[in-house]
């Protein structure tokens, strides 16, 4: 029965967001459809909560449901505050992706999740990081474009201000992700921070953007140096995201979820 309701919910959300994308010229109409999609998800989570008689936070499938719910909310708040349409659509697409995974793998409502990951902190920690990475990736694209424009002598302050704003928003999410992770670690293991390789690189990433922000604040006229710092910070972010597993220090990480037989 739960499954049928899930199908209804997923269809309502998909349809209303599809319509939202079609009517994107009428802003209030588009926004209403986005909100209807979010509301249908909220109703389903509430229903699931009552049916299961526990917060639906136990399995991977349930976790993905929360992703699918929170992503468009944060996307909408971000859009509402900063008018980044692409961020709204990015969040909707990610959300639909999670619904699709749940649709394709119904059995995943019971698949392995190590006990340490079964925590209410899991969802906020990861959702917030997804946003941070999206903003920071976007800021790097702007940085690369900025370097090209600089080379062509066409760089305007508008481009730099856009890069700055993206970094500020991304950095705010990055900080929250880091802090959520620390609070979670304290709750689960008794330490905030263990200098696990992934944590170490997350910290380096955080510092990289911190340097950019401070440098821009003081040396607003040194565009080339700023843009290079921004591009380099993104390289560090990629190391943190994918590269960590290939470093000599990674064999001791709790963030590589590979399992031995």
């Amino acid at each position: 029965m739960i499954w049928n309701y899930f199908l209804v919910t997923a269809s309502v959300s998909t349809a209303s967001w599809g319509i939202a994308a079609l009517v994107h010229k009428k802003e209030w109409l588009r926004n209403s459809f986005v909100l209807i999609g979010i509301l249908s998800m909220a109703l389903f989570i509430g229903f699931l909560w009552v049916q299961l008689e526990r917060p639906p936070l136990r399995t991977l499938g349930e976790t993905r449901l929360w992703y699918a719910f929170f992503l468009p909310i944060i996307g909408f708040i971000t859009y509402w505050r900063w008018r980044y349409n692409w961020m709204l659509y990015y969040s909707l697409i990610l959300s639909l992706l999670f619904l699709l995974i749940n649709y394709m793998h119904p059995e995943n409502f019971s698949k392995t999740l190590m006990p340490a990951l079964q925590s209410p902190w899991f969802v906020p920690h990861v959702v917030v990081y997804m946003f941070a990475y999206a903003f920071l990736a976007a800021s790097s694209l702007v940085a690369i474009r900025g370097l090209y424009l600089l080379y062509k002598n066409k760089l305007t302050s508008k481009v730099m201000l856009m890069a700055d704003n993206l970094v500020y928003l991304g950095f705010a999410f990055l900080t929250l992700g880091l802090l959520f992770g620390a609070l979670w670690a304290k709750e689960a293991w008794g330490h905030y921070w263990t200098w696990d390789p992934k944590e170490t690189w997350a910290f380096i990433t955080w510092m990289g953007y911190l340097i950019y922000i401070h440098f821009r604040y003081q040396q607003a006229s040194k565009l080339k140096a700023s843009l290079w710092i921004l591009a380099l910070a993104f390289v560090v972010l990629l190391v943190c995201w994918f590269g960590v597993n290939y470093l000599p220090s990674a064999q001791f990480s709790v963030h590589t979820y590979s399992q031995a037989p």
Binding site: D164, A172, L176, M207, I211, A220, Q259, P261
Partner: protein, 416 residues
């Protein structure tokens, strides 16, 4: 901006001096590490850490009171100094991110400079103290000349300062001990990582230890080495009754699966028993269209495991099930005679008398038949201050999200 041709160490100091100071501190730290090896680990505990902490704060205050008009204050609370310290700290942490942080016995270049344990090295201490000084002066400057729109700035900077300060000073007071709880026994002793025993101001009786397990998985191993064969992904598939799947080049069908079973004769039967293990009857279709069938079981501490030979090089086996959840039902006794019944679980700790009790581990060889539950007990009196810092930084982050670079826009506009 015009390029200045100022000599070094002529005020006002800028980026060159900032980087020289920061990297100089790191260099001095490494030299100290190299020339004074084998030192006893420094552990500053209460009340010395509190005295040192207050001393440091007073020092920053005095610095502000007497030197705030000087060039040194201007430099230390300025952005070039911050960027120098940030960069130096970042590069030091990068070293930490590349070199594995594990204890090493042999003497080599890595241990000589403590590159395997950087967080308790001199350079790390020096750069953090310098960082705290700079950050402290910056906060003081903004705090004393408070302007309304600076509250977000103060939240994030003060939060960070409090976190580093409290974590650093509190490290010596943090006690992290373990207790081995055996079923139906009461324990009041805890031990540290050097096996020193401590008597606790509480006692814990383990009433029941419970593990829920996931189903085991199918995997193929090499006969010669016993290593997992990973020619294609997924290399492990969770077993369900009537599962049919493709594992590398073999098609596997699970005809029967018992989560708990025992062998009798040439067959497994569903049964609950001390040491009963999962078992499955599988049919395998080989690439040559032969069918191989038989029982596989991962075994347990008192049952043998059984695999199915696929050919002379490979065998199909069942992995040991992973825990889904493990928990301890305990009774906690306090010196005042009170007691309470609790369930300890990973991610669900319990706080009593200033100690936080975490479910940590169990006897992994015994798996779900373990009657040993290992819990970690942590006392961290400085935790509340760290949480205050974290909370301030969170407010600062939300402020940052809301404001974006608006403030800076205003500043740039004002400069034009």
């Amino acid at each position: 901006m015009k390029k200045t041709t100022k000599s070094l160490w002529v005020s006002p100091w800028g980026y060159a001096e900032s980087f020289l100071i920061s990297f100089g501190l790191i260099l001095i730290g490494f030299l100290l590490e190299f020339t004074m090896p084998n030192r006893i680990p420094l552990r500053i505990i209460y009340p010395l850490n509190l005295v040192l902490g207050i001393g440091f704060v007073i020092l920053i205050g005095l610095f502000y009171i007497f030197l705030r008009k000087g060039q040194l204050f201007k430099f230390l609370s300025g952005i070039p100094a911050s960027i120098g310290a940030l960069t130096a700290l970042t590069l030091l942490v990068m070293l930490m991110g590349i070199s594995p942080q594990v204890p090493m016995v042999e003497k080599n270049i890595i241990t000589a400079f403590k590159l395997n344990n950087l967080t308790s090295s001199w350079p790390f201490l020096f750069i953090n103290l310098y960082f705290l000084l700079i950050l402290g002066l910056v906060i003081l400057r903004k705090l004393i000349k408070f302007k309304k729109h600076n509250w977000g700035f103060i939240c994030s900077h003060l939060g960070l300062w409090i976190i580093i300060f409290a974590v650093g000073l509190g490290a010596g007071d943090l006690q992290r001990l373990r207790m081995d709880l055996h079923e139906n026994k009461t324990e009041w002793k805890a031990y540290d990582d050097k096996d020193n025993y401590y008597e606790m101001p509480l006692a814990i009786r383990l009433n029941h230890f419970q593990i829920d397990e996931f189903h085991p998985k199918l995997a193929v191993v090499e006969n010669s080495s016993g290593k997992l064969y990973e020619a294609s992904k997924p290399s492990m598939i969770m077993i369900e009754k009537d599962l049919q799947c493709k594992l590398h080049r073999w098609t596997v069908k699970v005809d029967e699966f018992y989560a708990s079973s025992g062998r009798s004769g040439d067959q497994y039967y569903h049964l609950f028993d001390y040491g009963a293990a999962p078992a499955a009857f599988v049919n395998v279709l080989t690439p040559a269209s032969d069918t191989i069938s038989g029982w596989i079981s991962c075994g347990s501490f008192n049952r043998p495991h059984e695999s199915l030979k696929l050919d002379k090089d490979y065998s199909l086996l069942m992995t040991v099930p992973e825990p889904r959840k493990f928990s301890s039902e305990v009774t906690i006794y306090l010196p005042d005679g009170s007691k309470s019944n609790q369930t300890l679980e990973v991610n669900k700790s319990y706080t009593v008398n200033g100690w936080k009790i975490y479910q940590l581990s169990y006897d992994e060889k015994m798996g779900k038949y373990s009657d040993l539950s290992i819990v970690e007990v942590v006392k961290d009196p400085w935790q509340i201050f760290v949480y205050i810092g974290v909370f301030l930084m969170m407010i600062g982050s939300v402020y940052m999200f809301w404001q974006g670079n608006k403030l800076k826009n205003r500043k740039i506009m004002a400069n034009i």
